[in-house]
Symmetry: C2
Subunit: 297 residues, 2 copies
């Protein structure tokens, strides 16, 4: 079982469909890579690509995307609601079946250094690839934004690779390695959005809840229903089953049932097997117990 690596780059262009098309085409042109999703937001003026494949092919596709994005995007004229530091704003590498976090950290470092060299672009390493604590969190790195970076690039924001000089049109780039993210919602059999908001607050990490869980309570309309909307940032710390149990218990205490779960986008195989194992009360369900997992390549 060779490793599959996922890459989820965010670029600062979400309005010109033809430009985004050309970036997507650059990714798709790399043999062995599959572009699994692309989402553009016009308010944010930002696009997110999700692609995956063997490590080498994914790294090559990330380079192809950087090349295309630097041709298409001029940050001097870019406007959008989302904070950003560069044309290629952030490029996370994610280990999936058969790949390790260590490999993804190595890919991020090699990729970042090569981009810095090739495009004369300042590069920061974040998350698991961070060289020091103040590089771990993306918001900390991104705080000065493109417009303010020149002022601090020689002091608090010395790049981890490349020149200590903002690229005129492309700003800077952040790259790194992180676990797969799962976007998962739970719909409650009630219209009481206060309950969803309370549960969300109790389970999210930022208010002392479960590690690696982000959660918000929302009101769905037609029919009116309360929803707990979550990002699971590391299912080795907090699994889908754990989150399910915590939401179910809190809802049940108020006499409310769970109506259904909802997966947004894709999920990694290991998280699905973890959920299956939990439901069937197995002592784990490793990939090699799944026939087809022997044919992932």
């Amino acid at each position: 079982m060779p490793g599959i690596v996922e890459c989820v780059p965010n670029v600062s262009e979400g309005r010109r469909a033809d430009a985004v098309d050309r970036m997507a085409a650059a990714i798709r042109a790399v043999d062995g890579v599959r572009l699994l999703d692309r989402t553009s937001d016009t308010d944010h003026n930002r696009s997110v690509f999700t692609f995956a494949g063997p490590a080498g092919a994914v790294e090559a596709a990330a380079h192809a995307l950087v090349g295309a994005a630097l041709r298409e995007i001029d940050l001097r004229t870019h406007q959008g609601e989302h904070p950003r530091l560069g044309a290629v704003d952030v490029v996370p590498f994610v280990p999936l079946a058969g790949a390790t976090m260590e490999e993804c950290v190595a890919i991020a470092h090699r990729f970042g250094r090569a981009v810095a060299e090739r495009h004369d672009l300042p590069v920061y390493f974040y998350a698991k690839a961070a060289p020091r604590p103040e590089r771990v969190r993306l918001p900390d790195i991104r705080k000065p934004q493109f417009e303010g970076l020149a002022e601090v690039i020689g002091t608090t924001h010395v790049p981890d690779a490349g020149p200590a000089r903002v690229h005129p049109t492309a700003g800077a780039m952040v790259t790194g390695a992180r676990p797969p993210l799962i976007a998962f919602n739970i719909e409650l059999d009630t219209a009481d959005v206060k309950l969803a908001k309370r549960i969300a607050k109790e389970i999210r990490e930022s208010s002392g809840g479960l590690p690696a869980v982000q959660a918000l309570g929302f009101e769905l309309t037609d029919p009116p229903r309360a929803q707990v909307s979550m990002n699971l940032l590391d299912t080795s710390q907090t699994s889908l089953a754990r989150v399910w149990h915590e939401v179910e218990t809190r809802a049940a205490a108020e006499g409310v049932r769970i109506l259904r779960g909802e997966l947004i986008g894709l999920m990694p195989l290991d998280a699905a097997l973890q959920a299956a194992a939990s439901g069937l009360r197995l002592d784990g369900l490793p990939r090699d117990r799944i026939v087809e997992a022997h044919f992932i390549e």
Copy 2:
């Protein structure tokens, strides 16, 4: 996502390890095929191989196995407890991710005809590949056994391919197509084996229970525990989650909890995803929502 086909041939040799090794080597020698399991039973004097891969490679490996088995096995001197008709007793083809039952039926027919021609061997098509009702069930076909086949091969047991004449050393072969089989046990938090036996009887198809479910109640020792041991023959008819629910409900009615589930051997990806979807109350979890499933080939 190209299709993965599984093949689970049973051969009439379970005592001479070197002979079984040579059969396993014949399978492994085919490029693209993975031998996932081999189990030999000396009392039954019988071995089961589980291998999988792309359809063409699996068909080639099945031919390689037949060649090796016919060199190794002489049924005139074979003794064992398990009923059998031939040296290569039965060769089921099983559709996994991306493959269809229709493809597996076509493979079984083509494979069976080629074996009949190449080795002058009578061949029967069973399960989903059966040409008529009395060929569907393996025990019906196997009833006369090797020793009694000559007597009926011209009347009730006219082969579906090949000569109506028993092969002197290899007997006859049965091949066909069937859904994947999952061997799954549920351990109850009680030593009351009567409860396990009662539940097994209530849920198995043969006594009017769930379709495509075989079940028996067993007593485990050290510590003493009751176990419901099952084969799920078609999870599109009865899923793991359904079986779990039925066992759990019946045990709970007697105040008994389920301790744990146990998967024997491997399971197909779709069954695992079905179990995950059930636990997370998703409206299904198709393969294309799993990142790595896009790289099964």
